[in-house]
């Protein structure tokens, strides 16, 4: 057995190799991330992986406080809103340094209003020399409706910038805390332009953030080091390393062995073990999300409310929470997560009752066996760790009430598109909140979204429900809005266009020596302020 004996020999050699490892003075924190970033300019990207990779390097005008959804000052130390709500004036922080020595660039000046203007001009103005660089797709800037919203962005003086809006917009401030609004260095941009390599702007980032960029090797590692001149004081760790490790099992193995300190997205199946693992601190936070199973009301028999209710009763939700979410989720009742205001606690979920479901189907005139499609998305989402397994469980439950569900799936982009076109009879999807407002969830069930190609995957348009949420959107009184949304939730449950599956809980295991790491409700990963014991 040559293989075995060699292995033993190698193992022996290895132990000596490790013994030779040097004592290392600097504090290096390794984060086991999921994948490679597309580039380091958040404005160009849409994925959390890419945002996470750029975040150590940059700041925004205003920022979300670490571990919360609260907006706090960033590069702007204060702001004022005009009486008509159309002007936002930011006072910029003075003495903020950009990273020096990255990519041969040495800043000659501190951060000022020119950098803010440049940052937004790049996304907004086609004549900006960087507008077309690296594909020039500014998804979030466009998705948040900025081009329609912005009248102008003016430099009042070097440390004052005024955003003029076409109409008042309350979420504007929170939008500016999002990653796409990350502030870049205009001087660095000019420097690269002169050098003739503008594309490096998005590959080798220079910012004001707590860590400066050192090196990136695709699919392997991203390295940063603490920026000593950071305006809020240097970070408590010296080096920050992202070890790109796509497989969650390997991530946990690395965490156990101390090859990384913080990891993203554990296997649900490993969570129980992590809770008792002495090396691991398991942090968690309820996710701002919902996973649902939509019934296409345009396809009979789902046009009948009773049929949809029957389907709600046919599925054993508790089993899904237990066996798929493995505890990392709670059964959903309403279309919004309980962490959002206006959540209606009085709404009761349909009880699991296959017998009654069967009877209701018969009463509704549905002939069994009934053939339906059950679509499941081919990818893991924050709100749904395994749509395939859920589909398999639903399929088995449905068989008990005489329904043959055919499992259907497509490539992710295709899947979402076809669902929006309404090709499915029933299908799973979900939603992750962007800003914590109930409307950010309720619009998914509104009549405008029920059009072909719209986000309302049940294609369910209920006048009464739609009136309620439309009205709630336009008024500003919180208690009034709450009442309207609570009513809407009652209608939703009665009409049952969805089977609400779950709200996931985001788990983030860290090693015990990691101090003060905070799980973000937005699923961000932030390391400024984190320390290693």
């Amino acid at each position: 057995m040559p293989v075995i004996s060699t292995k033993a020999a190698i193992a022996a050699a290895l132990l000596t190799a490790f013994a030779a490892a040097p004592a290392y003075a600097a504090k290096t924190l390794v984060y086991c991330s999921e994948g490679s970033p597309e580039n380091f300019t958040p404005a160009l990207n849409t994925t959390g992986t890419s945002f996470d990779a750029a975040r150590p390097v940059y700041n925004q005008l205003v920022e979300f406080e670490r571990g919360t959804t609260k907006v706090v000052p960033g590069l702007a130390e204060s702001w004022t809103v005009s009486d008509d709500g159309k002007e936002l004036t930011f006072k910029l922080r003075k003495g903020v340094k950009f990273h020096s020595g990255v990519n041969g660039f040495t800043p000659s000046r501190d951060f000022n209003a020119d950098d803010v203007i440049f940052t937004f001009d790049r996304m907004w103005k086609p004549e900006n020399p960087y507008h077309k660089v690296t594909g020039g797709a500014y998804d979030y800037f466009n998705d948040m409706g900025m081009p329609d919203l912005l009248a102008s962005i003016d430099k009042v003086d070097d440390y004052t910038v005024k955003f003029v809006l076409k109409e008042p917009n309350a979420p504007m401030l929170a939008n500016l805390a999002m990653d796409f609004a990350t502030i870049h260095s205009k001087e660095y941009a000019d420097f690269l332009l002169k050098k003739g390599t503008p594309e490096q702007f998005d590959q080798i980032p220079v910012g004001t953030g707590p860590f400066s960029f050192v090196n990136y090797q695709k699919d392997a590692v991203i390295r940063y080091k603490a920026f000593p001149a950071y305006f809020e004081g240097p970070a408590k760790i010296d080096n920050l390393v992202y070890a790109i490790t796509p497989d969650p099992t390997a991530r946990y193995a690395k965490l156990k062995k101390g090859e990384c300190h913080v990891m993203i997205a554990p296997n649900p199946a490993d969570i129980a073990g992590m809770k008792t693992d002495p090396a691991v601190n398991l942090l968690s936070q309820p996710g701002l999300n919902i996973a649902y199973w939509a019934f296409n009301v345009e396809k009979p028999p789902f046009d009948k409310k009773e049929v949809r209710q029957a389907f709600n009763m046919a599925i054993d939700k508790a089993a899904i929470i237990k066996d798929v979410y493995q505890g990392a989720g709670q059964g959903a009742i309403n279309p919004i997560p309980p962490t959002i205001w206006s959540y209606n606690k009085d709404v009761k979920d349909y009880a699991y009752d296959p017998e009654k479901a069967k009877k209701m189907l018969a009463d509704a005139g549905v002939k069994t066996p009934l053939d339906i499609d059950l679509w499941w998305m081919p990818v893991q989402r924050p709100y749904n760790p395994n749509a395939k397994r859920i589909a398999e469980m639903m399929q088995a439950d449905l068989a008990k009430i005489g329904v043959n569900a055919k499992l259907v799936s497509y490539e992710w982009g295709e899947y979402r598109k076809r669902m929006q076109e309404g090709e499915h009879t029933t299908g799973q999807l979900g939603w992750t909140g962007d800003n914590g407002d109930p409307d950010n969830f309720f619009f998914l069930l509104g009549c405008p979204a029920a059009r072909k190609g719209g986000q309302n995957l049940a294609k369910w348009c209920n006048k009464e429900f739609d009136d309620l949420i439309t009205k709630a959107r336009t008024i500003s009184d919180l208690s009034e809005r709450t009442k309207l949304y609570e009513q809407a939730q009652v209608i939703f449950k009665e009409e049952a266009p969805w089977f609400t599956i779950a709200h996931s809980v985001v788990y983030e295991p860290t090693r015990k020596e990691v101090v003060d790491y905070k799980v973000s409700p937005f699923g961000r990963h932030e390391f400024y302020g984190v320390e290693l014991k």
Binding site: A21, G135, D219, G258
Partner: protein
């Protein structure tokens, strides 16, 4: 010989043209769209989709896209990745050293164990040793690689704690700029104590996993080829002359027996270079195989086309060299 080489090289040209065409068409036949594939639940407005497709040239007629692509290829331009917006060739050159390093280490592992095992098995034909070698080889040959890799990580890395779990380097204790892209060389160049050991440690499990099948193939090949040679007249004569068995095996038989083995090794090289998709996936190894698979799911047309072209070119080249080598070391075949 020269003529033969020329003929062979000429023969690969139409293969390349066909390959270019096939990959181009196949990649576009995959349902889905590179832009749609990147959007989340929110989706993308039809107007923006159209604008972005226009920017990428995806709204052009396919034949025109193909001509543009072919024109670019002729000028050594493999296009720009849709996802990262970096040139495909550049991405390939960053990832390929990792694949090459792993492939070579796997091959070394397979040869160093496989040839002696095969020779021993042949010499001690019918013995327990022979049976053991052949059983192990058979199991190795039949191994589902992805499963084998998972088991090894769980057992060797996690349970026994002997090797690192995944990746190419100990990221906590060492840092050096990549110079060659080969971790073994870079770690030596860095001059940091222990870095080379760490690089080796990271290579062990992936090399074993990737080398398992070549090991089995080489061991079996060596054995059967050796048996054949041992049965031939000149070996019998040598034995009859009273030469020591070691001399017979080492000097006469092995040299001839290794001719077909060289071929197999060469072919395995081509295969291993072609990207060990599964091994790379399991060990988070930043190589080209994983990159190609990801490019399929992202519908990154240029990366996929360019990647397949480059990898195929290397495979064809390696196989060509192997053929030449075979002809060179085996005079019997030359007039064939």
């Amino acid at each position: 010989m020269l003529k033969l080489i020329f003929r062979r090289v000429a023969l690969t040209l139409p293969t390349f043209v066909a390959l270019m065409f096939v990959t181009f068409v196949a990649v576009r036949m995959v349902p889905g769209d590179p832009i749609e594939a990147r959007t989340g639940e929110r989706g993308i407005a039809p107007e923006r989709l159209a604008a972005l497709r226009h920017d990428l040239g995806l709204d052009q007629p396919v034949w025109k896209q193909f001509l543009d692509y072919a024109y670019g290829l002729l000028h050594g331009d493999f296009g720009v990745s849709i996802v990262t917006k970096t040139p495909v060739l550049h991405e390939f050159l960053i990832l390929f050293p990792a694949t090459l390093e792993l492939a070579l280490c796997a091959l070394v592992f397979a040869i160093v164990l496989g040839i002696p095992a095969g020779v021993l098995a042949a010499v001690k034909r019918g013995s327990v040793l022979d049976h053991s070698v052949m059983t192990v080889a058979l199991a190795g040959y039949s191994m589902p690689i992805f499963w084998w890799g998972l088991l090894l990580i769980m057992f060797v890395s996690e349970y026994l704690g002997l090797t690192p779990v995944s990746g190419r380097m100990d990221l906590i204790n060492y840092y050096f700029e990549p110079v060659t892209g080969f971790m073994l060389i870079d770690s030596l160049l860095s001059g940091q104590e222990g870095a080379f050991g760490a690089a080796v440690a990271h290579l062990i499990l992936p090399s074993i996993v990737l080398g398992t099948i070549p090991l089995a193939v080489i061991a079996r090949m060596t054995r059967s080829s050796m048996l054949e040679v041992l049965g031939e007249d000149y070996v019998r004569t040598a034995r009859a002359k009273g030469l020591s068995p070691l001399r017979v095996v080492g000097l006469h038989a092995l040299r001839n027996a290794l001719i077909p083995v060289v071929t197999v090794v060469g072919l395995q090289t081509g295969t291993l270079l072609a990207g060990a998709v599964l091994t790379e996936t399991i060990f988070a190894w930043p190589g080209v195989g994983k990159w190609l698979i990801e490019s399929i799911s992202r519908r990154d047309y240029p990366a996929l086309q360019g990647g397949i072209m480059l990898i195929s070119a290397i495979v064809i080249l390696v196989n060509l060299i192997v053929d030449m080598l075979y002809v060179a070391i085996n005079p019997r075949i030359r007039h064939g």
